[in-house]
């Protein structure tokens, strides 16, 4: 009788271990992304651009930063309405604008070669939202209310740092 009793508990233990395993794997990226998004939002608030200094050993907000890129970023929150994202594309260097959902998925990316107008004008909105698009703007549906927008520009040698920094600061992120 005693053995049968423990057998039941052992079976429950196996179930608990399996559920804890699956939940951890599922929760981990969401928790890490949430921390990163909130850290960014602490700097300037949600839906506000941040222009961090070029990464060095003091850059500890996001793992594995590249010291060869200039980043601009924005923690977005489309829960209370669409967010307009605009950026100017620098000449003759790799540049991209990418968006990441709350589960870490890279749901949107555009690079300098794909942009012909020299600038991008995007409206990010929760899926199913009715949006009055400003002329020339493109609608992007966000798979989650919160996430991160990130621009990258290769700082090819330090001689262009000032120029690329100026272009980077024309990246804006604000409620529509």
């Amino acid at each position: 009788m005693r053995g049968a009793g423990w057998g039941r508990w052992l079976l429950l233990a196996v179930v608990v271990a399996a559920v804890a395993h699956v939940l951890t794997v599922w929760l981990l990226p969401r928790a890490v992304m949430r921390v990163a998004t909130n850290r960014l939002a602490e700097l300037a608030g949600f839906n506000h651009a941040v222009y961090p200094p070029r990464a060095d050993e003091r850059a500890r907000a996001i793992v594995r930063p590249s010291p060869d890129l200039l980043y601009a970023s924005c923690a977005f929150d489309v829960a209370s309405g669409p967010v307009r994202i605009r950026a100017v594309v620098p000449q003759d260097t790799y540049w991209s604008l990418s968006m990441f959902a709350a589960n870490t998925d890279n749901f949107f990316v555009v690079n300098d070669r794909a942009v012909t107008a020299g600038a991008v004008d995007l409206v990010l909105a929760a899926s199913g939202t009715k949006v009055d698009l400003p002329p020339g703007a493109t609608l992007v549906e966000a798979p989650s209310a919160r996430g991160i927008v990130l621009t990258r520009a290769v700082v090819a040698g330090t001689d262009r740092l000032a120029e690329l920094d100026e272009v980077r600061r024309r990246f804006t992120c604000a409620p529509l």
Binding site: A20, T24, V63, R64, V154, A156
Partner: protein
């Protein structure tokens, strides 16, 4: 309930059950974290000592890879945009350590822009590197045929050199090779891409 009355030690039994379930919880969480770490470091595809995964950054990423990328490469781009290869060992299979000096030798990859960057075991740039965190395709010194040799670790050098923080206790580190807008032949055959070799020279 019947068992409790027969045993006459309900408190001990309850404590035993609680300990068992806590252990189960711990086992579940620890195996998850280990599985996730493994998946990022060695899962997916390898070309020599360099590991990557075609689904980094993509919504096709499985739950383990997604969790692994969150820990070791949050905000990574998808493979069409950027391929990220990471090496944690040299050609002999020994872990990269900050007390050793390495020779990274290869030929320019077929990509718009590339860089090799050293990271500490905390996934951040290594303190004490005096700005020498990386080499990249625009500033690397290379031969007419596109071949290059980059020294990693050891005493400071002029030219192609990446610091691993100088003196102090030996700690593991890793190298990340970024290929921006890689040629479709690389994206189509991540395991076949000709990538630099990492050869250990000397250790202090």
């Amino acid at each position: 309930m019947a068992a409790r009355q027969r045993n006459g030690k309900p408190v001990r039994r309850a404590l035993g059950v609680i300990a068992l379930l806590l252990c189960a919880l711990l086992v579940g969480v620890v195996t998850a974290v280990l599985g996730v770490r493994n998946r990022f470091a060695s899962g997916g595809v390898r070309s020599g000592v360099w590991a990557t995964n075609a689904h980094i950054g993509s919504s096709g990423a499985g739950p383990y890879l997604r969790a692994g990328v969150a820990l070791g490469g949050l905000l990574a781009l998808n493979a069409g945009e950027t391929v990220y290869y990471t090496a944690t060992t040299d050609e002999s299979g020994a872990s990269l350590g900050t007390s050793c000096e390495y020779r990274v030798e290869g030929r320019e990859p077929d990509t718009r822009w590339w860089s090799i960057t050293a990271y500490g075991d905390d996934h951040f740039l290594i303190p004490g590197s005096n700005g020498r965190y990386s080499v990249d395709g625009t500033t690397v010194e290379k031969g007419a045929d596109g071949s290059f040799v980059v020294r990693v670790g050891g005493a400071p050098r002029a030219g192609n050199w990446i610091s691993t923080g100088g003196a102090g206790a030996s700690r593991p580190f890793s190298l990340t090779l970024r290929l921006y807008n890689p040629d479709p032949s690389i994206v189509g055959d991540l395991a076949g891409a000709p990538l630099p070799r990492i050869v250990r020279e000397a250790c202090s």
